[in-house]
C-alpha cells in the first residue's frame, strides 16, 4: 500500500539525519492552512509556545545488560548509535526511548546497575532532553517500581512547539495493557486539545494486533485508539518488535523502530519468533534506524520519504567511518528483512 500525506494533515513529518534512531521534523506549515491559525493561538494560550519546525530522534530496545549469542557485543550498537547521532548536523531537540532500556535481571541490584549504565550511555547524547517509556524487561516483574525510581513516571505527556506528546506504559501491569486508570488519564489529558492538534504517542508494544501469538499486541489497544479517534493527526511510535514495521490504521500511522541489540525474524513468513543469529561478517545487521521525510510545504501531497539506515561492517570495524545504507521505504505492513539487503 502506498500512502500519501493527507492535505488536511496538520502534522508534517520530515526527517533527514545521519543518526541512529528515528528522526522526525515537524513543520506545521501554518501559512498554508486556515485552521493552523487556531492551533497556533491554542498553543500560545496554553503554554506560550507557538508551533515551529523541529527534530527529534527515536531510539528503541537497547537491552542494556544483554550479552548472548544473538549479540555478543553488548552495548556496542547502542554506544555507536549515540556517537552517530552526536555527529549529525541536525541536533535533535530531544530523544525518545521506546522501552526495554535494560534487559531484565531478576536480581534487583543487578537490574539497578543496568539502569545506571543505560543512563550513563544515554546521557552522552547531545540533546536537550531524553524521554523514556518502559518495556516489559524494565518494569513488568515489579510493577514498574525500580523503573520509576530511576526514570520517574512511566506515563505522562508534554508539549513541544505545537505538538502534544503522550507517553503510554503498556507493560507495568505485567500484561500487555495500559489498564483502566491510564485510559481515564489519557481521556482527560487529550480532552483539552482541538481535534486538529498533532499528537504523538510513544509506547513500547504495538497498540494493534500485529502478531498476538508472539505477544505483539496491547490487549486494550483498541480502547486507546478509540480515545484518540476524534483527533485527525495522530502518530504512534513504538518498539518491542526489533524490526522496521509501518502500518496505517485509518488516519493513524504506527511506526516500529529497529532495536539496538538484535533483530527478530519476519512474522509474515515465520511461525515461531526467533532472534536473528549474530553474523560476524555483518555484526549490526538489522540494527539501525528509519528516517522519515516529506517534501514539506513545497509539495504537501507528496508521499512520505521513508529511509532506513543500517550500520555496516565498515562502520563496525571503524575503518571507513560511519557508513549507512539508505533505502527508500514507503511500504506499509512489511518487515525489514527485505529493505536492508
Amino acid at each position: 500500500m502506498k500512502d500519501r500525506i493527507d492535505r488536511r494533515s496538520f502534522l508534517r513529518i520530515a526527517g533527514m539525519s545521519l543518526g541512529i534512531g528515528v528522526v522526525y521534523e515537524f513543520a506545521p506549515f501554518l501559512d498554508h492552512r486556515a485552521e493552523a491559525g487556531a492551533i497556533t493561538d491554542f498553543f500560545k494560550k496554553v503554554n506560550g509556545e507557538a508551533p515551529a519546525s523541529f527534530t527529534f530522534a527515536q531510539f528503541s530496545d537497547p537491552h542494556v545488560g544483554f550479552q548472548g549469542p544473538p549479540d555478543p557485543l553488548g552495548t556496542k550498537a547502542f554506544e555507536n548509535a549515540v556517537e552517530l547521532i552526536n555527529k549529525s548536523p541536525q541536533r535533535p531537540d530531544f530523544v525518545l526511548f521506546t522501552g526495554d532500556l535494560t534487559h531484565d535481571a531478576e536480581n534487583r541490584d543487578a537490574h539497578a546497575q543496568r539502569m545506571q549504565l543505560f543512563k550513563s550511555i544515554a546521557g552522552r547524547i547531545n540533546t536537550s532532553a531524553i524521554h523514556t517509556v518502559p518495556g516489559e524487561n524494565d518494569a513488568a516483574l515489579d510493577g514498574g517500581v525500580l523503573y520509576r525510581e530511576h526514570f520517574g513516571q512511566s506515563h505522562y505527556s508534554f508539549d513541544h512547539k505545537g505538538v502534544h506528546f503522550v507517553a503510554l506504559d503498556n507493560v507495568s501491569r505485567g500484561r500487555p495493557e495500559v489498564g483502566p486508570d491510564q485510559l481515564t488519564w489519557l481521556k482527560a489529558d487529550v480532552a483539552r486539545f482541538p481535534k486538529t492538534a498533532p499528537i504523538v504517542v510513544f509506547t513500547h508494544r504495538p497498540l494493534f494486533d500485529l502478531k498476538p501469538e508472539w505477544e505483539w499486541f496491547t490487549a486494550d489497544g483498541d480502547e486507546v485508539m478509540n480515545v484518540l479517534a476524534p483527533y485527525e493527526n495522530v502518530t504512534v511510535l513504538y518498539g518491542h518488535i526489533h524490526r522496521h514495521y509501518l502500518q496505517q490504521n485509518g488516519k493513524v500511522r504506527h511506526y516500529a523502530a529497529r532495536s539496538l541489540i538484535f533483530a527478530f525474524n519476519d512474522p509474515a513468513t515465520n511461525e515461531e519468533k526467533k532472534q536473528l543469529p549474530f553474523n560476524k561478517d555483518d555484526p549490526f545487521k538489522e540494527l539501525g534506524i528509519r528516517l522519515v521525510g516529506s517534501q514539506g510545504a513545497a509539495n504537501p501531497a507528496a508521499p512520505l520519504d521513508v529511509k532506513d539506515v543500517v550500520l555496516t561492517k565498515a562502520e563496525f570495524s571503524g575503518l571507513a567511518g560511519m557508513q549507512q545504507m539508505l533505502k527508500d521505504n514507503n511500504s506499509f505492513g512489511r518487515g525489514s528483512s527485505n529493505d536492508a539487503d
Partner: protein
Amino acid sequence: MTLTKKLVVLGLLTGLAVYATPSRTRAAGSAQVVKITANKFHFTPDHITLVKGQPVTLQLTSTDVTHGFMIRALKIDTDIKPGKVTEMTVTPANAGTFKAICDHYCGLGHGGMKMTVMVEETTAKAPAAKVLSASNTVSK
C-alpha cells in the same frame, strides 16, 4: 474471570470430550475438566486436543508466580494467579491448531512459554479429544 468473559468464551467455543486420564475428570455438568499447570516457563500438558462443539472446563493453576493464558483465536485471555484455581468453560466452535501463550510477563524465559491446542472435527470414530502430557507431545 468475570461473568461476561465466561459467557463470551462459552459462546465462542462448542464442545470437548476427553479419554480418562489423571489430568481430567467429568464435571458435574456435561463438560469435561482439563487441568493445566503453569510454572516458569512451561504449561503442563503443553499439547491438548479438543473436539469441536463439545464443552470443556479448563482448570488453570500456577505453582510459582502469576502467569497468563491467552489464545487470541479462541478469545481466551486470563491471568493464572498462584494459590487459586482459575476456571473457565469453553466450547470450541472451529477446528484448527491454536497457540496458547503466557501473556503475563514472568521472567526471562517468558517468551518461550506456550502450548498447542488442537481442535478436531467431531467424527463417529473419534468423538473424543486427547490430553497429551508435556513429555509425549506429538504433531499430527
